[in-house]
Structure formats: structure tokens, C-alpha cells
Amino acid sequence: MNIKVLIGIIIILVFVIFGTFSFKKSLTPYVSFEEAKSMDAIVQVIGKVAQGESTYDTTTHLFHFTLRDPEGDALDVVFDGTKPANFEQATDVVVIGKYGEGKFVANQVLVKCPSKYQGSEL
């Protein structure tokens, strides 16, 4: 067999396996608060944050907020990071992270603001 074709096949095969593996491993499913509390995996939850229900702890530099879903369930979230630029006007807040020790530890907080970014490409 042609060595070049062989190289090509090997490269593609390696990346297909590697890609699928990474893809599966980094999937973060959307779950309810209840499910998030019982799962030992990185998941994604969505909810609303009421004004006054987010505080920034100046000693630990952690950002705390309470996420609420339409069923009335609440989830305490702690985030070691910057408060997103437009957190206050969010209609929904998406949090990616893992539950542990009574709190949902967020790796990433996404703020959703309809009409605000609508149209801007980035």
C-alpha cells in the first residue's frame, strides 16, 4: 500500500477515535436540580437568579448565587470566577459544573439575555 495513503488513514483514524472519546467525555447534559444533586458528573443546569440572591464574598473571593427553576426548586451555586458582565439583566443563567458538599460548584456561568446580543455576531 502507498505509504502516503497509509499515513493519511492512520492520522484520520487516530483523530476519529480521539475525537469521539473527547466528545463523549466532555458532554455536559442538561439536568434538573434534583438530578444534579445526585449525579457525580459535570452537568449543566438552567434557572433564574433573583436580584439580591447573589453575593460576592470578599474574603474567599467566591461568587455565590441561588438558582431557581420554574418548579420552585432552588440550587445554591458557588463560582470561583468573575461575575459575568451582564449577570444582573439575565433572563436565565446556565451553570456548568458539579454538585458537591451541599453546593453546586460552577466551572462556567453563562448568562442569557435575549435581544441584548441579538444581532451582534460575537
Binding site: 475525537g19 455536559t28 447534559p29 431557581r68 458582565a85 441584548k116 455576531e121
Partner: protein, 712 residues
């Protein structure tokens, strides 16, 4: 409404007739070509007038138009007022179409046997955009009375880079429809002699603009958003990155076809694929399908059906045509050595394609997993993990290619210098603190790619600068890759509490927070002789109904100092009071008069206000802080300012049974003590990212110039 939409309908009609005549003219009916051309100019005319009309509506503050109302206001400076045009989806479709029809005018100027059919396919694309635009027109009126004032433009978008970002992207998108049309015309006519030569300048042009648009967007995110990065792997960003990577693949495939005559089918496929990916990206970001997975929730505009239908039609037709013609296209197989430059180029194409496909898979993950059940997206780690090894392989390929001959041998003598220089610089990185093996390899390859291509570039400047574009772009990519690693993997950050007028020492910097002045914070930063006043922005915006924060960046060759304000903690006093009672705050006497119930609840929310009588210096005034309570228990407070502007009163809670309220008053006077919480980060060598980008863009300009000359 009438005039704007009429222009669009007239545009659509001329476009349709023009397309029909272009198709009919082909070779057989050269006479109808003139008619088609005139009709095309008519389309250009209508779209241009519609565009100018929308600008006119913005400049005249015609808030009876809901698009003008939604994205502008009378207090916007002229520059931002003009940019409101493309602040929303409707306007960006018009902008895209405007660039599209005008590029078509230049396309018409070149005489070519494929011209009629190319114009036909090109028009199909414009008509598709026009239909989307008609479905979601910027010329709709606000129902009822015309508002006095518009909603304004999002303060985050009021930035020079954000103003130019959408036009750059859409010039790119518009241009990439041209190689697509040429490829389809060539397939339809089964004539592959000239399409590539004709399509090439447009491809380089599109790659240049789309690339510039992507990087400008990244720079804006870094400068304005304050999270410290420039790329977040968000679907909106990926949607333009994926077609761009494939344009680059295509530009390299062309080199093979031009020298060896091979890869003919691949190039046809790539020209088609690039534009299909532009459309797919538009679908991803405009349909609302990723609404729950992206920071930028592009809501469903009701154009989904049209978008999906149009996209599927384009995919089936173009790929179907390619498959049907494919057996007849004769593409010679050229067998070159593994050590040939040609093989290196193909290898680079494979790596780039794999990277783009992986990003495409990740971006589409909610759709892919949605088909299997529970839609979920991949975390950003996925993109980083998969692209890291590809980045290394791409850099290695870039570095080796200049030392290979086209026929297949390695010029071993010349490779020694860049290799040894790379190793020395990598050792330097090791001494500077880079310890991870992967990052060391990455940096080493980046330096190698940079060095290797820089030498060739310098040599080419002297011989033939037109052939130097690629090498300059590769030099830039090498620099960019180094910058990506140093600025992200070796970024350090710390959060500092800065009580007003107290000096703090961090990393050898003396920091002193001086207070808030006109929407800007003043932070004195000094280190040795170097000192400056950082002015990050921090203010409340009515538009976003929240605090807007913008970092201060101290640009530096060795790395930026990035100061991002997080919070300001102020003194706050709480009071509980019953109806008729008084409280004292500073020199104010505040009495709770009564509740101020707003009879109409807004969207199921209850709005309660407390009428407070404020007495001071023998004057009296009533202020009404309000509390808005939603169905799910969420509260929104609208504070009221004290008469002298030195305090903000918030209604925290109400107790209707006891006719009591609890208030909090935030002291915002000059004497109030406040603490700024600031995130301070170092971004080592982040300037390399922008420097690399500029090199890549200049490289693309040179390539474009070369291809333009070749096309004649």
C-alpha cells in the same frame, strides 16, 4: 414600512427575473445577457436604496420603526448611531445582502464563459437572503403610537472594534458565495478550465475579511467583556471560524491543483463546502436552535422554516451536482514522495480539516445528541483538548515545508539554523517557567514554524514579494500559536480588595483605589518609576438594567496587565418601618407614607412601591422605591435616589398585613467608605496573538493581490 418593504419586494422581483435571464442566456442566448445584467443593476439599485433608507431612518430617529426603536436612541453619537444599523439580526441580513449585490457588480465586469451561470447561482444566494430579509424585515412598524425615545444601543456594543466587526464578517460571507457560484457553474457546464483562476481572488478576499472579522471580534471580547480571554468557543464564534478554516484548506488545495493538476474534485468540493458552512453557521446562530447552549441567545425569528428549507435545498443541489459530475472530472493522480512539499501541503490540509470538523462536531453537539435524546453540549475543554495536538502537528508541518522541495527531498543544510534557534528559545521558555511537556513542545513547534517561514519570507521579499504571502501568513500563525499558549496557560490572576484610599501591594505593584468618577473607576497603579491611573469602567446602564464593567488594560511588550473590576461594596444601612413612622439617615428624615400599588401588573409580576416623604433643610420631596415580584418569587428592585444624590434607597421587603416595609439605604456620598474588588491578571506575551494575526492578514492581502493579478 411601505417604502422599505416595497424596495425589498422590487429587489426580489428584479433578482428573480435577472436570475432567470442569466440562466437562459448561458452560451446559447447571448442576447438575454444584456437584459439579465440590466435587471441585476436594478436589484443593486433597490437594495442600495433600501440600505440608505434604513440609515436615513436611524439618522432621523424614526422610532415608529421597531428596528430603529430597538437599537438606537437620540443620545447616541453619530458613529454608534450608524452602527445601530447592524446591531440586530434584521439589519445584518440587509448588510450582508448589500455587500453581496455590490460584489456581484465587480463579478459582472470580468468576461468569462462561465459568467452567466455563475451569476445565476450567485443570484440564487442573494434571493435566498432577500427572502429571509422579507420574512424578518427591518422596516416593520411599532404597533400603536410611535415611541418618543428608542431603547438605545447596548453599551457593550459601543466600541470601535464591535462597530467594524459585523461589516468585516459579512463582506467575508458575501465574498465566499462567489467561489461557491463559480464551482457550481463549472459543474453545470462541465467546464473546469477557468473557474479556479476566477474564483481565487474572491476566495483570498473572503478569507481576509472573514479572518479579520473573527480576530477583531476576539480583540473586542478581550478589551470589553472583562473575563480576560479573547476566544470562548461559543457557537457564535465557532460558526464563523469553521468556514474560515475550510477557506484556508481550499486556498492550499488550489496550490496543488495549480502545480500538479491534482485535487480537482477536492477543490470543487471545498469551494462548495465553505459556503454551505457559512449558511449552516447562520442557521445555528439565527434559528434559536442553540438558544439554551450559547451565551448569545439568538432567538427564533420565525425564519427557521425558510432557513432550514433553503439550506437543505442548497446542500442537496450543490453536493448532488458534484456527485453527478464527479466521475467525469478527470483529476490526475500525482505520486510524490513523502518528503515533497506537495505532500506536506496536503498533510497540512488534512490537519486543518480535522480541526475544523472537530469544532463543527462540538458546535453541533446539541443537535447531534438531541437526535439521540437528551440534547447536551460539549464543554470548552473538548475544543482545547482536541485542538492542542492538532496545533502541534500543524506548526510542525508549517515549519518543515519550507525545507522540502516540490519533487521530494529535504534541504538539510538550511534547516539547522531554525531548528537550533527553536531549541534555544524553547530552553529559554523552560527557564522562564514553562514546565508542562505538552506546552513546551507546542511552543517549540510554534517558534520553529515562525523561524522557518520568516527566513523564506525575507528571501522572497527580495525576489518576488507576490509569492511571499503564504510564508508571511505562516510566520504569523507560528507567532499566534506561541501567544495563545503563553497568554492562556501561563496567565495568572488574583482578586484584590481595595478599600478606598488605602494602598495595597500586589506583585510589586502599589494599588490605590481613588473612587468613581463619571462612570470610570480611578485606580492608581505604580511600580518603580512606572505609574499610571487605571480607568476601568463601572456603571449602571438602563439599557441592560445592570452594571456594565469594562477592564483596564495596561499594554506591555512582555504581557498585559489586565485589571477587571468585579464589585464595589458600599456601606449600607437597613431599616424596618411601619406606616407613618420616621427614620433618620444622615440629615434626612424619611417617613413611610403609604404603599403605591401599581394596578396593572406587568407580565404576571406584581409591582409595589413605597411612597416615602424625605425632609431635609426645610424641604420636602416624595420618592418611591419599587419592588417587582415575579411569579417564581424572583425580586427586582428599582432604587430611588435621595434628593441630594448622596444615597440610594431600596425597598427590600414588604409586610402588607402589618403595613410595614424594610428599606436599605446605600451611602453613595463622597465620604462613604467603599471597597473595590478587582481582578488583576497578567497575560504573558498576549501581544503575540495580535502580532501573529496582523502578519496573517497582511499575508492574505499579498495572496489576494497575487491571485488578482493572475486572474487578469
Amino acid at each position: 414600512m411601505f417604502l422599505g418593504n416595497l424596495l425589498l419586494v422590487l429587489g426580489l422581483l428584479s433578482g428573480l427575473f435577472s436570475a432567470f435571464h442569466f440562466l437562459k442566456s448561458g452560451d446559447a442566448y447571448p442576447k438575454t445577457f444584456g437584459i439579465a445584467k440590466s435587471l441585476y443593476y436594478l436589484l443593486v439599485f433597490f437594495i442600495t436604496v433600501a440600505t440608505l433608507y434604513l440609515f436615513y431612518l436611524f439618522l432621523g430617529h424614526h422610532f415608529e420603526f421597531s428596528y430603529v426603536y430597538g437599537y438606537s436612541s437620540t443620545d447616541l453619537p453619530l458613529f454608534y448611531l450608524l452602527s445601530s444599523f447592524w446591531a440586530g439580526q434584521e439589519g445584518t441580513f440587509l448588510l450582508w445582502l448589500f455587500f453581496g449585490v455590490w460584489l456581484g457588480v465587480f463579478l459582472l465586469k470580468k468576461d468569462d464563459e462561465l459568467k452567466s451561470h455563475t451569476m445565476f447561482f450567485y443570484l440564487v444566494v442573494q434571493i435566498f437572503l432577500l427572502i429571509l430579509l422579507l420574512k424578518k424585515s427591518p422596516f416593520e412598524l411599532v404597533p400603536g403610537f410611535a415611541p418618543e425615545q428608542g431603547r438605545g444601543l447596548n453599551p457593550l456594543l459601543q466600541d470601535f472594534w464591535m462597530v467594524i466587526h459585523p461589516p468585516l464578517i459579512f463582506v467575508g460571507y458575501a465574498a465566499l458565495a462567489i467561489p461557491f457560484s463559480y464551482a457550481l457553474a463549472a459543474l453545470l457546464k462541465n467546464n473546469y478550465k477557468s473557474w479556479l483562476k476566477r474564483a481565487l481572488p474572491w476566495t483570498s478576499f473572503g478569507a481576509l475579511f472573514l479572518g479579520a472579522g473573527i480576530f477583531v471580534g476576539g480583540y473586542w471580547a478581550y478589551k470589553v467583556l472583562g473575563w480576560g480571554g479573547y476566544w470562548g468557543w461559543d457557537p457564535v464564534e465557532n460558526a464563523s471560524l469553521i468556514p474560515w478554516i475550510f477557506v484556508l484548506v481550499f486556498l492550499h488545495g488550489v496550490i496543488i491543483e495549480k502545480t500538479d493538476g491534482a485535487l480537482r474534485k477536492t477543490n470543487l468540493f471545498l469551494a462548495i463546502l465553505v459556503f454551505l458552512l457559512v449558511i449552516y453557521g447562520t442557521f445555528l446562530t439565527r434559528s434559536g436552535i442553540l438558544a439554551d447552549f450559547s451565551v448569545h441567545s439568538f432567538t427564533d425569528l420565525g425564519i427557521n422554516l425558510y432557513l432550514i428549507f433553503g439550506m437543505i435545498l442548497l446542500i442537496i443541489f450543490s453536493l448532488g451536482l458534484l456527485l453527478w459530475r464527479s466521475p467525469k472530472i478527470n483529476s490526475p493522480k500525482i505520486d510524490r514522495n513523502v518528503l515533497s512539499q506537495g505532500f506536506g501541503v496536503i498533510l497540512g490540509m488534512v490537519f486543518l480539516s480535522v480541526s475544523a470538523v472537530l469544532i463543527l462536531l462540538g458546535t453541533s453537539s446539541p443537535i447531534i445528541t438531541g437526535l439521540l435524546g437528551n440534547p447536551s453540549k460539549v464543554s470548552t475543554i473538548y475544543y482545547i483538548r482536541t485542538n492542542l495536538p492538532l496545533g502541534i502537528l500543524i506548526a510542525l508541518t508549517l515549519g518543515v515545508i519550507p525545507f522540502l522541495t516540490w519533487k521530494g527531498s529535504i534541504i538539510a543544510k538550511k534547516i539547522l539554523l531554525p531548528v537550533s534557534l527553536s531549541i534555544i528559545l524553547t530552553l529559554l521558555a523552560l527557564i522562564m517557567g514553562v514546565r508542562s511537556l505538552v506546552y513546551l513542545i507546542f511552543i517549540c513547534m510554534g517558534i520553529f514554524a515562525f523561524m522557518a517561514n520568516l527566513f523564506v519570507f525575507i528571501r522572497r521579499i527580495r525576489t518576488n514579494i507576490l509569492t511571499a504571502g503564504g510564508f508571511l501568513a505562516h510566520t504569523g500563525l507560528g507567532i499566534l500559536l506561541i501567544g495563545v499558549i503563553t497568554s492562556s496557560a501561563y496567565s495568572s490572576s488574583v482578586k484584590v480588595n481595595l478599600p478606598k484610599e488605602e494602598e495595597k501591594d500586589i506583585w510589586g505593584y502599589h494599588l490605590r483605589y481613588q473612587g468613581l468618577e463619571e462612570k470610570e473607576l480611578r485606580v492608581e497603579v505604580s511600580k518603580g518609576r512606572d505609574n499610571f491611573i487605571a480607568k476601568p469602567k463601572f456603571y449602571y446602564s438602563d439599557y441592560t438594567d445592570g452594571v456594565v464593567r469594562t477592564p483596564h488594560i495596561d499594554y506591555n511588550i512582555w504581557g498585559d496587565l489586565y485589571l477587571s473590576p468585579l464589585e464595589i461594596q458600599t456601606e449600607e444601612e437597613s431599616f424596618v418601618m411601619k406606616k407613618g413612622e420616621d427614620i433618620k439617615f444622615r440629615d434626612y428624615k424619611i417617613r413611610f407614607l403609604e404603599f403605591d400599588m401599581v394596578p396593572h401588573s406587568v407580565e404576571g409580576k406584581m409591582v409595589v412601591g413605597a411612597r416615602l416623604e424625605v425632609s431635609w433643610n426645610e424641604e420636602k420631596q416624595v420618592i418611591v422605591p419599587t419592588l417587582i415580584m415575579g411569579m417564581e418569587g424572583e425580586k427586582t428592585q428599582r432604587g430611588a435616589e435621595l434628593p441630594e444624590g448622596d444615597g440610594l434607597v431600596y425597598l427590600e421587603e414588604i409586610d402588607a398585613d402589618n403595613k410595614a416595609i424594610s428599606l436599605s439605604i446605600v451611602d453613595i456620598s463622597q465620604e462613604a467608605s467603599e471597597t473595590l474588588i478587582l481582578e488583576m491578571s497578567r497575560k504573558p506575551l498576549i501581544g503575540l496573538v495580535w502580532l501573529g494575526t496582523i502578519f496573517m492578514m497582511i499575508g492574505l492581502v499579498i495572496t489576494w493581490w497575487r491571485r488578482r493579478k493572475e486572474a487578469g
